[in-house]
Symmetry: C2
Subunit: 398 residues, 2 copies
C-alpha cells in the first residue's frame, strides 16, 4: 500500500505526540501510550522502536508484574544521546547552553561582547560559541558517547520576525533589522558541526516562557505567562499548547501597554507604558544603563537606602497593576516573573503581590499563581533550547 502524504503527516504527528506524552508522563508504557493517544498497540510499538533507535526515547529497567508474560517497560526521554543548543543574545553578554532533551544544562559558555558592540560582531561571537559547544558534544564524553545536536534556538532582546529570521528592533541594544538567521547560517557554513541543523529564533520573553512550559516535569502549565523585567518589560504567553506570537510577532509586548495616561515618556515614543514605569531602564533614567549603574541600584536597595527603595516600591505597585491586567486579558494558570530586576527581590515583588492580592480580594476572585523562574539567570538560554524542542515536536508548526 503506498504511503500517501496524509499518512506520512499522521505518522510524524503520532511520533511527536508520543514524545510529548512521554515527556508529560515519564515512565509510560507502550500500552498506556496507545490508550492515551488512541493509537493501536502495533502503531505505538513501531513508532517507539524508531524513537528509541534515534535517541529520543529510552527504556527504563523492566518492571515485571506478578502475571507471567505481562510486562510494561517504562519509557522516558533519553537524556544521554541527543542535545539542544540555546543562546541568550543579551544586552551586555551572550550565554550559550547545551541541554539534554529534558532541559538540563550539560555544557555552557558565557561570551562577553567586549568591544564588539555591533550586531554582526556579536552574532559572530555567538556562532563561535555555539559551534564550540557542538564540537564538544560531538566528542566521546564522560557519559560514554557523543551527542547529536537536534536543533539550535536563539533568544533575542527585541522584536522578532521569526518567519524571516530577522531581529526587527532591539531598543536596549540599539540594533535594527538584523538578519540574525542569515548571519548565523553563514557562520555555521557547509562543513561545521552545526551545518544543516535546524535554527529557530524568538524574543527573549517568549523563549523563557517556553522553558517553563516545555521543561516542567509535571503536567503542562497552560495558559502560562512569563513576564520578563530587565532593562525593559515584555511577556511570553503560552495558550493551548502554543506560543502566542501575533500578526507581526509582537504579541506579549505588554511593556508597551499603557498604565498611566500621559505618564512618563517611554523609549518607544509613547507615554506611561509599563516599560517606563517598571523596567530597570526607567528606574535608572537610561534605556541602556551601564552594568555599574545597575549594580549601584542593586547595592542601594540592598542597603535599604530610602529614596531607592521608595522608587522600586512604586515600580512594584505598577507591576501589580500589570499583573492584574495580564490576569484579566489571558486568565492564566500562572505568571512567572524573571529577568535582571528580580535582583531587587521583595522590594519590587512585595508591593506587586500586595496590589494584586488587593484586586483579587476586591473582586472576590483567586488571582493566578505568581512565581519566579525555575531557571534563574539561564532562563533565556535554556528557553532558546526549549524553543528548538518546541518547534521540532510540533510538526504542523505552532
Amino acid at each position: 500500500m503506498p504511503v500517501t502524504g496524509d499518512q506520512q503527516l499522521l505518522k510524524q504527528l503520532n511520533r511527536m505526540a508520543l514524545v510529548r506524552q512521554v515527556s508529560a508522563q515519564p515512565g509510560s508504557s507502550r500500552a498506556a501510550l496507545a490508550d492515551v493517544l488512541g493509537l493501536t498497540k502495533s502503531t505505538v510499538s513501531l513508532l517507539v522502536r524508531e524513537l528509541v533507535e534515534e535517541g529520543w526515547l529510552a527504556e527504563s529497567e523492566l518492571r515485571t508484574t506478578g502475571e507471567v508474560g505481562r510486562r510494561a517497560t517504562p519509557l522516558h526521554l533519553d537524556p544521554g544521546r541527543l542535545a539542544l543548543l540555546g543562546a541568550d543574545v543579551g544586552v551586555d553578554e551572550a550565554r550559550v547552553v547545551a541541554t539534554d532533551l529534558l532541559g538540563r544544562v550539560i555544557d555552557a559558555l558565557t561570551i562577553p561582547y567586549e568591544d564588539a558592540a555591533d550586531a554582526a560582531s556579536c552574532v559572530r561571537l555567538v556562532a563561535l560559541g555555539l559551534a564550540g559547544l557542538a564540537r564538544r558534544l560531538g566528542r566521546l564524553n564522560a557519559a560514554g558517547g557523543p551527542r547529536r545536536v537536534l536543533g539550535v534556538g536563539i533568544g533575542l532582546h527585541g522584536a522578532i520576525d521569526e518567519a524571516a529570521g530577522l531581529l526587527r528592533h532591539a531598543p536596549h541594544l540599539g540594533w535594527r533589522d538584523v538578519d540574525v538567521a542569515g548571519l548565523l547560517a553563514r557562520h555555521f557554513g557547509a562543513g561545521g558541526p552545526l551545518a544543516g541543523v535546524p535554527l529557530y529564533m524568538q524574543n527573549e520573553a517568549n523563549v523563557a516562557a517556553l522553558a517553563e512550559f516545555e521543561f516542567t516535569p509535571q503536567s503542562a502549565t497552560d495558559p502560562l505567562i512569563y513576564l520578563s523585567i530587565g532593562y525593559g518589560v515584555g511577556a511570553g504567553v503560552i495558550v493551548s499548547d502554543r506560543l502566542l506570537t501575533g500578526l507581526h510577532g509582537f504579541a506579549g509586548e505588554v511593556g508597551h501597554a499603557i498604565l498611566q495616561l500621559d505618564g512618563p515618556p517611554c523609549s518607544c515614543g509613547r507615554r506611561g507604558c509599563a516599560d517606563a514605569l517598571i523596567g530597570l531602564g526607567a528606574l535608572l533614567g537610561d534605556s541602556r544603563p551601564s552594568p555599574a549603574a545597575l549594580q549601584d541600584l542593586f547595592d542601594r536597595v540592598g542597603h535599604g537606602e530610602q529614596a531607592a527603595c521608595a522608587a522600586v516600591a512604586a515600580a512594584g505597585r505598577q507591576l501589580g497593576v500589570l499583573l492584574n491586567n495580564l490576569w484579566a486579558s489571558f486568565d492564566p494558570m500562572a505568571i512567572v516573573i524573571g529577568g535582571a530586576a528580580l535582583r531587587l527581590g521583595e522590594t519590587l515583588v512585595g508591593p506587586a503581590r500586595a496590589v494584586l492580592a488587593g484586586y483579587a480580594a476586591a473582586a472576590m476572585m483567586t488571582a493566578p499563581v505568581i512565581r519566579t523562574s525555575q531557571f534563574g539567570a539561564d532562563a533565556v538560554a535554556v528557553g532558546a533550547a526549549a524553543l528548538a524542542r518546541y518547534r521540532l515536536t510540533r510538526p504542523l508548526g505552532a
Copy 2:
C-alpha cells in the same frame, strides 16, 4: 482492514478540514482541495460525497475547461439544507436567530423579558423561542424544503464556565451560578425539535468575535479581537484559529484591566478598570441603567449637549488606551468594536481612534485595523450561531 480509533479521528478531521477550506475558498474543486489539504483525490471524493449527502456542501454548475474530459466542479457550503441557531441572552431582552451555514440570518425573533427578571424564567423564554424557530425550519419553506438544525449556540452577558454549562456571574443582569445548559436541555426535552441537538454557550464578546471570524467570506482574519462596549466592556480574542478562553473561561475580560491606578470604583470591586471608565454603566453612574436612561444619554449626545459629549469623549480617550493595550498584548490583525455604545458614534470612537493614532505615530508603528461589527445589533445572536459552527467543525475541541 479494521477502522481503528485514530483512522476514525483522521477521517473526521479531514471532513471538517474540507468544510473549513470550502468556507475559506468557495468554488474550490476536489482537485484543489486535495492539493491544499495534502489528501489523495480519492479520499477527497469520498468525503465530499458524504458531505454533499448530509447537506454541508453543494456543487455549483459544472465549469468545463477546454480540454475534453477535464472537469472541475466548484464546491461551496450549501446554504439551503442545514441551519444553525443562535441566542443573544441580553440584559433587557433576548434575540434568537436561525442562520444558514454562511451565517446569513434566515429567521429571527426578539423576546422581551417583561416581568420575567429571574434567570430561570428568561432562559425558559429563550428555550421557547429557539424551539419555535426550529419548528418553523422543519416545515417546507419557500426555498423548497425543511432544514435540519446542526447546533444551537447561546451568547451570555457574563462569565461562563463552558465545560460545566454554567453562567458564573452576570453583573449587569444580577445572575450568579445559573445552570443555563441544564435548564435549556430540560426545556428541549426528549421529543421536541431540538432534542439531542448539540448545545454550546459562551460569553457574548467571545461569540461576537466568532461571528466575525467564522462568517467572514474573505480568508480568515487572525488574530482578531472583538471589543464589546455595552453596559460593561469585554473582549473576545481569536488566535491561531481558536477562541482564547483561559483557565477559567475569563480570558478577554479586559473590562477589568486597570487603566487608572486608584481610579473610579468598578462594579467588580476594583478601581480604575476599563469598565468603570468606558462602559455605558459608568457613563450613567449605574451598572444596570434603565433603557430610558440609556436613550436619554443617546439623545443628549445626539443633540450635542456639551457636558454629555465631554463625558463620552473622555471615555473615548480611555477607549484609545485600551485599544493600544490590546494591540500590545495580542498584536491582532483587526479590532472590531461592537455593542450598544456604538450608538454614541464618533463622539465615542473618534477620540479613541485619535489616541490610538497618536500612540502609533509616536512608536513609528502601524496600528491594527479598527472597525465596527458587520453584524450590527445581531452580532451576539449571529455569533452564537457561529459558536455552534466553530465547535462542530473542529472535532478535536478548540
